[in-house]
Symmetry: C2
Subunit: 214 residues, 2 copies
């Protein structure tokens, strides 16, 4: 069975998981406060060289376990909007070694050639519904699970289509007042999921959402 998973999704108390306007200087659209404790190195395992191991860093390491493909929205991939420019050599925020190391589908209405990296990451641009994109990603994942990588609009669309099996939410004890809402238009999620919560000493609440099964 292949599952569809969301990891390390930081969300404010007022439900925002990104800012509204992504620019080159503000990859999270001005909502960088959501990520102020996040250390991207943890996704590959706890690294005690960086300091004491907390629950937050421990749970972050689930990110890549058993994952064979990712799906992300265009806004996570970059700040551009509209048709791609022929002279644009943008290859995402992550340099020559994107951390994904798997097929990675980017949802966009505008066609773009596939981009391959030596570490196994391949950016594949796809104009598709969530269900269609998930089918493509599952076929590419070689039997492993598929991660929905965000941003929040993309996660919300997959939740609306009831395609998410597992989510690790990180509820940050902050309010943003504005931004991209994770929850807008999603009624009665609690009827489809069980939720386990644990609070960290810094006020963060970690939640594991598991879709109910028969």
């Amino acid at each position: 069975m292949q599952y569809t998973r969301v990891h390390n999704l930081n969300v404010s108390l007022d439900g925002f998981a990104a800012g509204e306007e992504v620019t080159l200087d503000h990859p999270i659209g001005g909502a960088e406060a959501l990520f102020k404790e996040f250390d991207g190195r943890w996704i590959n395992g706890v690294d005690l060289d960086n300091g004491p191991v907390g629950f937050g860093s421990a749970l972050t390491t689930l990110w890549g376990q058993g994952i064979g493909a990712e799906i992300m929205g265009r806004r996570k991939y970059g700040p551009q909007t509209g048709p791609w420019q022929a002279d644009d050599d943008w290859k995402g925020w992550w340099g020559d070694e994107p951390p994904f190391a798997t097929p990675t589908y980017i949802l966009t209405h505008h066609p773009h050639e596939q981009i391959d990296f030596a570490n196994g990451t391949s950016f594949r641009f796809i104009d598709a519904t969530p269900a269609e994109a998930l089918k493509a990603a599952q076929e590419a994942a070689n039997g492993l699970d598929v991660r929905i990588g965000g941003g929040p609009s993309t996660v919300r669309q997959f939740l609306e289509a009831d395609l998410i099996d597992f989510m690790h939410l990180v509820i940050q004890p902050i309010t943003l007042g504005r931004g991209v809402s994770l929850w807008e238009g999603l009624d009665d999620l609690q009827e489809r999921f069980t939720v386990e919560s644990a609070s960290a000493p810094n006020g963060v609440v970690h939640q594991f959402w598991n879709h109910k099964r028969d």
Copy 2:
């Protein structure tokens, strides 16, 4: 920097982390209740096929991250005591593929030939103090961390020698009345460690112990 870590150490409310008498039928010496929720498959990553992902299974996956060697006590390795018998072909509880997949040092006063497995596990029998054993394991770990694998007497000796940097304790909401104590003779551990706790819905409390640093 190489750290010395303890993972998934189940302990009762009265401080016991194993039973007193290990036999072939009772590898935990009669204290099997401590492990009734433990699924050994989790040490290699969350496996959603087995059911919903809880915090307990998530934290269990830290076990092998960045580990290059293990040290265990003889009682974890098997039920035998005293000199090894020449006709004893015991190779531990774990069959042909022990999960360690690294050099694994077994503390014993009785000499025994090294046992190698195809998956990278090698059982190396050593008559040494905790500090001496740790030095040997660190040299074999190729720059990675060393796990103290238990049982509780072994962990307690390493705590007494102040050689532990990190511990993940799983406080089970049970009392055993007897067994091998993790804490006996250990005064004022709280002066050397910071402790982060999180409770799970089933009454289990997870604790991360990080040694204080300058």
